[in-house]
């Protein structure tokens, strides 16, 4: 069973008097242990598709199933719970909180969950992404590549089924980008998760198990 499945998804935006169809009858699925890379030119609907998969946005038409459960008509609060337990995010600009240490940033998604202490897992994850000696550093004391590793560790803190990466190498040089991709490939197998990424980076295609091309809101 696919961990995430989008069926006949349509997304329309109203901009002024014009209706823009960002996604047209998109079918998409991803399996555990698989890295899917979505590529396409700017404005092709890549980010919209990623937002749908990440349950940040809801489709105008069609259906989204997470682990076989229909989540299409979930309320914002229900979607928040799903994101909290099933999904991890990695952003192009890392989006770490500047006043928190690396460990605290990793713990952030589970911080309000006082019933479970994820501190040990946070430290373990940072060790696994090679930041065992940077646990108490703040983001401004870390390089771009190190920050993205912290962000990856943060995305995995809740033991998600899916990790979504929006241009994860977009702000990194080629060498650093490659190490990040190697990290993701390793974690994909260790954690048995689906990784869905959006990219312009040619290098990233080489690491993908499957490439989805999106043009004008349609999968080619």
């Amino acid at each position: 069973m696919s961990v995430i499945a989008l069926t006949d998804v349509v997304k329309r935006y109203q901009t002024g008097h014009e209706t823009v169809e960002a996604l047209k009858d998109v079918d998409f699925r991803a399996e555990r242990g698989e890295m899917v890379t979505i590529i396409g030119p700017s404005g092709s609907g890549k980010s919209t598709l990623l937002n749908m998969i990440g349950l940040l946005d809801t489709p105008t038409e069609g259906q989204i199933r997470l682990d076989g459960r229909d989540v299409t008509d979930f309320t914002e609060d229900e979607l928040t719970e799903e994101r909290r337990s099933e999904i991890g995010f990695v952003f192009q600009d890392f989006h770490l909180l500047p006043m928190l240490t690396a460990t605290e940033n990793v713990e952030l998604p589970t911080m309000w969950d006082t019933s479970v202490d994820r501190h040990d897992r946070a430290v373990d994850l940072l060790h696994r992404v090679g930041l065992g000696d940077r646990l108490d550093h703040r983001p401004d004391q870390l390089s771009g590549g190190q920050r993205q590793r912290v962000a990856i560790a943060r995305a995995l803190i809740n033991e998600p089924d899916i990790l979504l990466a929006d241009e994860p190498t977009g702000n990194l040089d080629q060498d650093t980008g490659r190490t990040i991709l190697e990290e993701l490939t390793r974690l994909k197998e260790d954690e048995n998760i689906a990784i869905v990424s959006v990219t312009h980076d040619e290098q990233m295609i080489g690491y993908a198990d499957r490439v989805v091309r999106l043009i004008d809101g349609e999968i080619q």
Binding site: L56, E76, T80, F89, L97, W112, T114
Partner: protein
């Protein structure tokens, strides 16, 4: 890092504390408004109390007395010794001073004459303060005379005065501006023995702590002595007079004054709340993307709301604490000057304004934080992430 260790157990508090630490100058400026607001409320409230205490102690000698005379349904003329004992029992631990009254004329060596009221009593010190000489606890011999009368007649301490055929030495001069009684007429205070031929006392004066206590004791005495008969009329054995009307007027004026002062103080707190609203709104708009990330990684709306409200509450608490400390210093100085005892500020009557000021500060800040918090929590994560 002690405080952050503790806060770690309260995620909203932890995040709020860190967020405030990011822009210390802004935090300090936002709190400054609250500091000023709290100082206004607390110090104006305390000023009200100080003025009231000052006024009550100035006017207190008028209103803290209860006067008892024979009632219209009494079978005896005057107040009997038995009744005085009963009054003592009922009134409890207050000064009960039975007295005889009379009038006489005293003359100076050069023949000048002056009419005075005569009061015969024992506990002179309870009712009379002297400007010269002494006001004895038990007046057994000698007399006291109002100082203005003494001046007019050229009488000094130790001079003899003739009353009822006996000579008495003047032991003290009474300050002239005391109480309602006297009516401009001078008073001659003599020992009870000078009027021992009387059967009953003419009146009894009870001196209590303050006006409220006088009102209370007067009510208890009325209940005790003046029973309602079966046909609904009151059998007035003793006529009991207190000055509760005067006391009430003073109290109501003081309350008005205090409310006016608090009103002025509240305006500055309103201004402070607007400042906090502004700061919180700016800071949530600045952090829009960050809050979007929180929401994306599964932080609930309620949790974001609590985090931002906690930030506002912290601003209020920081400002409130500073404001309370400064107000305390002002209050200490104020009571030092007005009441002569700085420590009075710690009595609940005035200390409560410090508590009110602090609670108002937190309340006003949280209310100001509501809109920014609600706005941040309900921003759609997709849009917030775009920044």
């Amino acid at each position: 890092m002690g405080i952050t260790e503790l806060l770690w157990r309260f995620p909203s508090a932890q995040m709020a504390w860190r967020n405030l630490g990011r822009n210390r100058i802004r935090t300090a400026l936002a709190s400054l408004g609250i500091v000023i607001g709290v100082i206004s409320i607390a110090s104006l409230g305390i000023t009200g109390v100080a003025i009231q205490q000052q006024a009550t102690s100035d006017l207190g000698s008028l209103t803290n007395e209860v006067t008892i005379t024979s009632g219209e349904d009494s079978s005896t003329a005057g107040v009997t010794a038995d009744q005085v004992d009963e009054v003592r029992n009922v009134a409890g631990n207050v000064d009960v001073v039975p007295q005889y009254s009379d009038a006489t004329t005293i003359s100076s060596r050069n023949g000048q004459e002056e009419n005075v009221s005569v009061i015969g009593l024992t506990q002179a010190n309870v009712l009379y303060d002297v400007s010269a000489g002494e006001s004895p606890e038990r007046l057994q011999s000698g007399v006291l005379l109002t100082d203005s009368t003494a001046n007019q007649l050229g009488i000094e301490i130790g001079d003899p005065i003739k009353y009822n055929g006996q000579m008495y030495r003047v032991r003290g001069l009474i300050e002239s501006d005391q109480g309602f009684g006297g009516g401009g007429r001078g008073q001659l205070v003599v020992p009870e023995s000078a009027l021992s031929d009387r059967d009953n006392y003419d009146s009894v004066t009870i001196v209590t702590e303050d006006g409220d206590a006088a009102t209370e004791i007067a009510a208890i005495l009325r209940d005790h002595f003046n029973e309602e008969t079966h046909n609904g009329e009151v059998d007035e054995e003793l006529s009991i007079t207190d000055y509760s009307d005067v006391q009430e007027n003073i109290n109501s004026f003081m309350n008005t004054l205090r409310l006016a002062l608090l009103g002025i103080g509240s305006i500055s707190l309103v201004v402070a709340s607007v400042a906090i609203l502004n700061v919180m709104l700016m800071s949530t708009i600045e952090r829009r993307g960050e809050i979007g990330v929180l929401r994306a990684v599964g932080i609930r709306r309620g949790e974001v709301l609590r985090m931002i409200l906690t930030e506002a509450a912290f601003l209020g608490a920081i400002g409130g604490l500073a404001g309370v400390l400064i107000s305390l210093v002002i209050g200490l100085a104020l009571f030092r000057v007005l009441a002569g005892d700085a420590m009075v500020v710690f009595e609940w009557e005035s200390a409560r304004y410090l508590v009110y000021g602090f609670l108002f500060a937190i309340g006003a800040s949280v209310v100001s934080g509501l809109y920014p918090a609600w706005k941040a929590a309900n921003d759609r994560p997709v849009e917030a992430l775009r920044g």
